[in-house]
């Protein structure tokens, strides 16, 4: 027997009870109408609170907040598009993925390292080309696509990308800005980042911010928290 007091029922709803206790509670709930009603209250309140508060997290982030955090440091956390920081990191991530494949192939660590270096050098050489493709895709996708639709692109080096506009808003200067998802993949290795670009008077979308989520687990699920 477990005492079905309020906090126990709440802990049951919130998944805080261990397996065995949860089963005991369940067994007792079957014949306890009042406790079932209390469980329903806890369930309902959790769900309405979530739905009432979650939308706050979707509002566009004011630039002043990001500026306030980024101020006073030599380089902003945010990579403007044409600089190579985020991009190199993306390529390194892809290269690292390939390195694993090479090691798995039995090439041995040294051979793999050697080939990794060579591969990375090759990637660097291709960077400008790929970057141009990506830049064009971003321009075109943000200009022509409604949010949620994807634009795929492929460079001649088998690097593929996908740009998905997520959301549109106006910034303080009255420019249209769009948040977008920016995927890059090559031979099964993929990296994702999120950007916010604003459309300037010359009709060019320029990135204000690019967020590169950290860690492999960030590939998809973690990303929702990133922006």
């Amino acid at each position: 027997m477990v005492a079905l007091d309020d906090t126990t029922l709440m802990a049951y709803v919130d998944g805080e009870l261990d397996e065995q206790t949860a089963r005991l509670v369940e067994a007792q709930l079957e014949r306890n109408y009042e406790a079932r009603a209390t469980v329903a209250k806890y369930r309902e309140t959790a769900s309405v609170v979530r739905s009432a508060v979650l939308p706050y997290g979707h509002a566009p982030i004011p630039e002043r907040l990001i500026d306030a955090i980024g101020a006073g440091r030599p380089h902003l956390p945010v990579r403007r598009f044409p600089t190579n920081g985020g991009w190199v990191r993306s390529l390194s991530a892809i290269a690292a993925g390939l390195l694993l494949l090479l090691v798995g192939g039995g090439g041995g660590f040294l051979a793999a390292t050697y080939r990794f270096d060579a591969f990375e050098a090759e990637l660097m050489a291709q960077r400008a080309t790929v970057e141009r493709y990506r830049h064009e895709a971003v321009q075109s996708a943000l200009t022509t696509l409604v949010s949620g639709k994807a634009m795929d692109w492929t460079s001649e080096h088998a690097v593929q990308g996908r740009i998905v506009p997520i959301r549109t808003f106006k910034n303080r200067k009255g420019q249209y800005c769009r948040e977008y998802r920016d995927e890059l993949s090559r031979e099964g290795a993929m990296s994702v980042q999120y950007g916010i670009a604003c459309r300037h008077d010359d009709k060019v979308w320029r990135n204000t911010y690019v967020l590169v989520p950290s860690g492999p687990a960030a590939l998809d699920g973690g990303m929702k928290g990133a922006l």
Binding site: E16, E44, V49, S51, V53, P55, H58, A59, A68, I69
Partner: protein
């Protein structure tokens, strides 16, 4: 990831938490901005490897509580709770659900501050009781009793059980 980068990545969640506490996005942004400057100033006190989100939640909650005490700020009305910002992005939202969410938001604002923080951390951010307790530096039992009271009270507010529905704090604002 650099400390400031992590803060920026956390911004949506921090704003959400702050907005849940004070009921208005513009106020929430001030709160988050202040909390971030404090965090940056006291960066050395944060231990890398521990959860930055929990640490930030505590800073935000302390700041908010201090502000409430200092200014004896009255809670703002649900009508002002940042729907403008939200509707600017999500124009397709239906009127009905908007009204309902407004009622829930107003209900959350009627809860005592300490209960509200626990409610948001567990129900919105999915922290465990233990994580919430560590973050707010209170015992797990306190987390549970606050959380339980908050939810039962909110249920009363929304369904008007035995208690007559409390008029919204800002009826005068209309």
């Amino acid at each position: 990831m650099d400390f400031r980068d992590e803060l920026i990545a956390l911004l949506p969640r921090l704003r959400r938490f702050a907005a849940g506490l004070c009921g208005e996005l513009a106020l929430a942004d001030d709160l988050v901005q202040e909390a971030c400057s404090r965090a940056i100033a006291h960066q050395h006190k944060w231990q890398p490897g521990t959860r930055l989100d929990s640490w930030m939640f505590r800073i935000i909650q302390n700041l908010h509580r201090d502000q409430l005490r200092a200014a004896n700020v009255r809670n703002r009305h649900a009508d002002e709770t940042g729907w403008q910002a939200e509707s600017a992005i999500d124009g397709a939202r239906e009127m009905d659900s908007r009204t309902d969410l407004g009622i829930v938001q107003a209900g959350i604002l009627q809860l005592p501050e300490d209960q509200r923080a626990v409610l948001l951390m567990v129900c919105v951010d999915g922290l465990s009781y233990r994580e919430t307790a560590d973050s707010l530096q209170i015992p797990v039992g306190t987390v549970m009793s606050r959380l339980s009271r908050a939810r039962l009270r909110l249920h009363e507010i929304l369904h008007g059980d035995d208690t007559p529905r409390t008029p919204p704090a800002t009826e005068t604002a209309r």
